[in-house]
């Protein structure tokens, strides 16, 4: 068959010819063509001479496999006489979105994305190149696919305090495309290991709090940096993480407003900003491995607080008012949160008789048997997507304060 192994752009046409040796005693009329196993229509055939049959292919689609489409010439009984592999595709697009990071200023890993078209149907080779801005020599990255398919790792010999130019070249059988040049200083893209020794423990008997402690990553000890941290936590059976963002250069934090008797998973990560006095933020490390801890179980029925005898009423009222303040403060994004204090449950029941079906009672609640005072918070999920989490306020403890809790 000729041509052998041609490379073509999608949509182009091709005429191929199959010539048989005269000693095979076959005529051109005895032959037929298949492409990737499917027979080609005889209308596209043309007998060129006694022993040569051609076929015309038009508007070719992208190659079905990277090893090339199989164009095969058969004799009438189906046996294969010869073949040729067609490589049909598109030239590569400029690689884009080059992002790089350095682990502890020791190396550089970059990743990129293929150009918008992505699928070129032909195998595309990527080469990452870099050079110091003010010295001439180009260097080629050698270790590919360390962080995903389109990535490369430069393990050593990197200079600090001086900009690098970095770019990616994509090439396939149909051509070459070069990305834009990215310029960066290693010190601006530093990341580090996650914080070590993350421990999560209870805070005494407090049912709604957990204390998180960690140590700063050791690798950057001598590099004069300020660390920022972030904590994220979730309950065991949810996939939704809550993030605590403004954790500064400290190594502990208290989470509050948590549900009692619940297992929480906690992770911490670190951003080494201001390396060697630079003003820039670094890159966030990976999250530490999740650490689990559980808040103490509430001894009371869920949603129900211990009834108090009459003498303690006034203290309880004061404490409940403190709790008001805390709930209002921590129902963020909430409008129309109504909190009312009732001295007697019975009074509330009478008042709400008309609207009773709008209130969800906590489970296990036995209205008739309990006196007051009672705190009732009501909200509509649409106007208050994040209701305060605490189910029970522990009388005698101060309401949690400060920025440390979610």
């Amino acid at each position: 068959i000729s041509p052998q192994d041609p490379t073509l752009v999608i949509g182009s046409s091709l005429i191929a010819a199959c010539s048989v040796n005269s000693d095979l005693h076959l005529k051109a009329e005895d032959l037929y063509w298949t492409l990737n196993g499917r027979r080609l229509p005889p209308e596209s055939y043309k007998v060129l001479n006694g022993t040569t049959l051609s076929v015309a292919l038009a508007n070719l689609n992208g190659s079905r496999q990277q090893s090339g489409d199989n164009l095969v010439c058969h004799s009438r009984d189906g046996s294969i006489l010869a073949g040729s592999c067609l490589y049909v595709g598109l030239p590569p697009e400029k690689p884009v979105n080059i992002t790089c990071w350095s682990k502890n200023m020791k190396d550089l890993t970059c990743k990129w994305a293929p150009g918008t078209e992505g699928e070129t149907y032909l195998h595309t080779n990527y080469t990452l190149k870099y050079k110091l801005r003010w010295y001439g020599r180009d260097n080629t990255c050698q270790e590919y696919r360390t962080a995903g398919q389109y990535s490369c790792h430069i393990p050593k010999d990197l200079a600090l305090f001086t900009p690098y130019e970095i770019w990616v070249e994509a090439s396939n059988r149909l051509g070459v495309a070069v990305s834009e040049v990215v310029m960066l200083d290693i010190l601006d893209v530093v990341t580090t290991d996650p914080p070590a020794d993350v421990t999560v423990s209870r805070v005494g008997d407090l049912e709604d709090q957990l204390s998180v402690r960690w140590s700063s990553p050791p690798a950057l000890k001598d590099f004069l940096f300020q660390a920022k941290y972030q904590i994220q936590y979730r309950v065991e059976d949810s996939s939704e993480w809550k993030v605590v963002d403004d954790v500064g250069n400290q190594t502990s934090c208290r989470l509050a407003g948590l549900r009692p008797g619940t297992v929480y998973f906690v992770q911490v990560r670190c951003n080494p900003f201001g390396i060697y006095g630079s003003k820039k933020a670094g890159i966030w490390s990976d999250w530490s491995n999740p650490t689990a801890a559980s808040t103490p179980r509430s001894d009371r029925l869920p949603g129900v607080c211990d009834p108090k005898s009459g003498e303690h009423n006034t203290t309880l009222r004061r404490e409940l008012k403190q709790f008001f303040g805390w709930v209002k403060k921590h129902a963020y994004g909430c409008s129309n949160l109504s909190i009312k204090l009732y001295d007697q449950w019975r009074v509330w029941l009478q008042k709400s008789h008309k609207t009773r079906n709008q209130v969800g009672l906590p489970s296990g609640f036995i209205p008739g048997s309990l006196q007051g005072p009672w705190l009732l918070a009501r909200w509509h999920p649409d106007t208050c997507p994040h209701p305060p989490e605490a189910a029970c306020f522990a009388p005698g403890h101060e309401a949690p304060r400060g920025k440390q809790h979610a």
Binding site: Q4, T34, Q66, S67, G68, G78, H123
Partner: protein
């Protein structure tokens, strides 16, 4: 006059193996052929998958190909079973000293044709390794049984790299033959095991 026994034992170091040791070696080698049978089937399936139709279709009929150095199980099945143990081992040894080189060439060609097919590359490399292992084992058994070995394989196929389609085709033949020889060696070692029980 040289002691004949000495001559024999100096001819190959492993001829001093006891009957027990020979039987163990045969059993071990038989188990290796079980592995080879399984892996060679997988390799053939993985190989055709990456070449596209018509290679991957179940009724694929490749043209008979004369690829130099390729040992086909030239002895037909009935005659194969009628051969002596020594002759059978000789044929197997000849095949397994040639196959590693051929599988290596297929790997090189597939690295060009299917650069991203890492599983295929891994299986080709493993197949070559297993063949080398089997060749070594066979050499040991033949030495113990006093069977002369085949000549070393001719130097690797030179010449210009084949066209893509021919490379796909010859690779198919190598993988198919690898599987066919695995089946034959499994059968032969099974027979040998019954003759040299532990």
């Amino acid at each position: 006059p040289v002691d004949r026994a000495n001559l024999l034992s100096s001819a190959s170091s492993s001829s001093s193996l006891s009957q027990q040791e020979v039987a163990t070696k045969i059993k071990q080698t038989h188990r290796l052929t079980v592995l080879l049978k399984h892996c060679s089937e997988q390799l053939l399936a993985e190989y055709v998958r990456h070449q596209g139709e018509p290679f991957s279709s179940p009724d694929f009929q490749p043209p008979a190909m004369a690829v130099p150095g390729l040992p086909s199980p030239s002895v037909p099945p009935e005659a194969w079973l009628a051969l002596s143990d020594g002759k059978r081992l000789w044929h197997l040894a000849a095949a397994y000293t040639t196959l590693p080189g051929l599988l290596g060439s297929v790997l090189q060609q597939q690295a060009e044709l299917n650069p991203l097919a890492s599983e295929l590359h891994r299986q080709l490399e493993a197949a070559a390794r297993q063949c080398r292992g089997l060749a070594g084992n066979l050499e040991g058994i033949m030495g113990a049984l006093g069977v002369p070995g085949p000549p070393p394989p001719s130097s690797s196929l030179g010449g210009p790299p084949p066209s893509a389609f021919l490379a796909k085709l010859s690779g198919y033949h190598v993988c198919r033959l690898h599987r066919d020889w695995a089946m034959r060696s499994h059968e032969a070692l099974g027979l040998l095991r019954t003759k040299y029980p532990l």
